[in-house]
Symmetry: C2
Subunit: 372 residues, 2 copies
């Protein structure tokens, strides 16, 4: 049996669910911290777990280049390698090939690119991507797709989507079903509602354990992202988890949950933690700002229960950030991941209580830009 | 009453002692991790404490420039600022002025230099150094001295030492005694035995709570360092702690303990942790070496009880190091500090048992370079 999805509650089109996998359960809506190269940056795995995260994301592109998929397999799989026993979702590598590598050549067969690490030529096909994810022992494997450029004319987006659908079918053939493991298809089609609906239908004809929405958060803006999402999720099966890839800010997540999304991943909480930004219930806070330097009486977020907020004040975190001390990014990353999991906990509670709309309005108002 | 020093045992000239301060006790011989800018790099304070470290070192030069001594004072002192409640020793700033800043001008009054952070001109005198260390609330304050260049002719070393002795007297005048706080003088004199003996005598005429040996580990080599030490410690009072500044490798520490030194500090375990080097009972280990990449069955040091060795293997640590992941330097720093504290624990136990010579020979043999 594949991964299991139980829909526990609905509030409008927002969904509260539970995914059961070979490596544990995931309460949804869920946020997956990004562990690009076999580590959620600047965090120990037990610290990631303590934030409440139940699943993390690994990047196929990075791991295939270093330490290498066959090596991770020999070493016992990604869970053992990085000491994370919970579920891991791996992306297919397609997105990073487009954003990080050089000399990409896309053919019907797949993508040829040069490694950003050693310059070697590498072919990535749907079959190889699935094989790599299998070698990594991914709990959830993503179909190999082409990330459509943005902006793209309708004809370009259509052609790209059709290629991704053929690759989705090849991904499905290549995937070996195992109990508690799953394969997700990825809806493409740019910002075009007809293409999104067509893509969603084609994926269901193939049949996947979950459905991702790809090719968003690539520059189209929140409004168009929400419109595209709104035109996509109604075409996805109610009884399978839905995953919006690479999203996003808290307001993006709330809006996407309202449109029926169950899973998210984004580098934002970890990356912004490394650049001095903290996410709080009053919106983002820039710790590099000199106004924090004498503030010994306030934690990052007075309502937060994370270890960084329980122990440290803004004056010290400002100092660590200015001095580019490793402890500063450790603490800000920890806080940000905690904040994101807090957000998901509150979202889940609001859906269960049937108060998601009110909760959503309250949070979005508090995150409005203001003089701080 | 100043800090208290109890000499608990002696084994030859090696000493086992206990320093009692306003912020807690320190078992000696002790190693002080370096917390340059208000943080032991890449370590949470509770992780530093868990290694067994009982006292850390803070750098006056860095802290006076950022966040500033007056600010640290307003924020409640360095202990509160960095969440380290145990003893803190601060250096006088003199050494870093020489090694880090630009446009130094040394006069009888003190040193004028340009900040390496913002280029501003700053005067540092014995009085100001002591004031800064008082503002930081240092448990142990160091007298302001000039670090004699190496190599230096006898006449140059003598002149420099005489200046340091006049500054030591001014430091002593400027220091306000408080219960459980102490001021250490610093013996100078280059590699010249007569100057070292003279300096030690002059400092005792002034009277300090402890005596440091400065100006070593600046390029003279282990043999000459040990010779100079051997010519210095007999001139220091038996009933006061002795501190060898900026030293060193495990073999340096063992040799200095044999010559009657009680306290050490060095950036080596933290800095080498950030460059992929682990200290083990078999000598140093370079994690960047490709031979570690498939070694999933061996921790850094099979006999080490640190959290990094309990949880991770060399293959993963090799990967983290190659990928320049923050977690890699967190884990290597943690291991190295643990290893250093283990070394000090074993040294203390050996002195108590009267087996220091045998212990010393065994460790030095195991650290010999060999094909690894």
């Amino acid at each position: 049996m594949t991964i299991k999805f139980d829909l526990l509650a609905e509030d409008g089109t927002a969904r509260r669910g539970r995914i059961t996998t070979a490596h544990g359960t995931i309460e949804t809506p869920a946020f997956m911290p990004v562990g690009t190269a076999g580590t959620v940056k600047a965090m120990r795995p037990e610290e990631v777990e303590a934030t409440g995260a139940e699943i993390i994301l690994g990047n196929t592109y990075h791991l295939m280049l270093r330490p290498g998929a066959e090596r991770v397999d020999r070493l016992g799989g990604l869970h053992k390698f990085m000491r994370w026993s919970g579920p891991i979702l791996t992306d297919s590598g397609g997105f990073q090939v487009m954003s990080l590598s050089e000399l990409r050549k896309i053919t019907e067969d797949g993508v040829r690119f040069r490694s950003h690490i050693d310059g070697s030529y590498i072919d990535l096909t749907p079959e190889r991507s699935i094989q790599i994810q299998n070698l990594l022992d991914a709990t959830i494997t993503m179909a190999f797709d082409e990330c459509t450029t943005f902006p793209a004319e309708h004809a370009v987006a259509a052609k790209s989507m059709q290629l991704s659908m053929r690759w989705a079918k090849r991904s499905s053939y290549a995937f070996e079903a195992r109990a508690g493991y799953g394969l997700f298809g990825i809806v493409q089609g740019g910002v075009y509602e007809d293409l999104r609906a067509e893509s969603a239908g084609m994926l269901q004809d193939i049949g996947f354990d979950g459905y991702a929405v790809g090719g968003l958060a690539v520059g189209e803006g929140q409004e168009q992202m929400f419109e595209t999402l709104q035109a996509t999720t109604p075409h996805l099966p109610r009884e399978r988890p839905r995953y919006l890839m690479g999203v996003g800010k808290p307001a993006d997540i709330i809006g996407a949950v309202a449109r029926g999304v169950d899973m998210f991943d984004c580098v934002l909480p970890t990356r912004s933690g490394r650049t001095g930004q903290a996410w709080t219930w009053d919106g983002p806070l820039n710790l590099r700002n000199a106004k924090h330097r004498d503030d010994a009486n306030t934690p990052l977020d007075p309502t937060c229960e994370c270890p960084a907020c329980q122990k440290y004040d803004r004056a010290y975190l400002h100092h660590l950030t200015k001095a580019q001390e490793v402890l500063g990014l450790m603490l800000l990353t920890q806080h940000n991941l905690w904040h994101y999991q807090d957000l998901m906990r509150r979202i889940r509670a609001a859906i269960e209580a049937g108060t998601f709309n009110a909760f959503s309005a309250e949070i979005l108002a508090s995150q409005e830009p203001k003089a701080r």
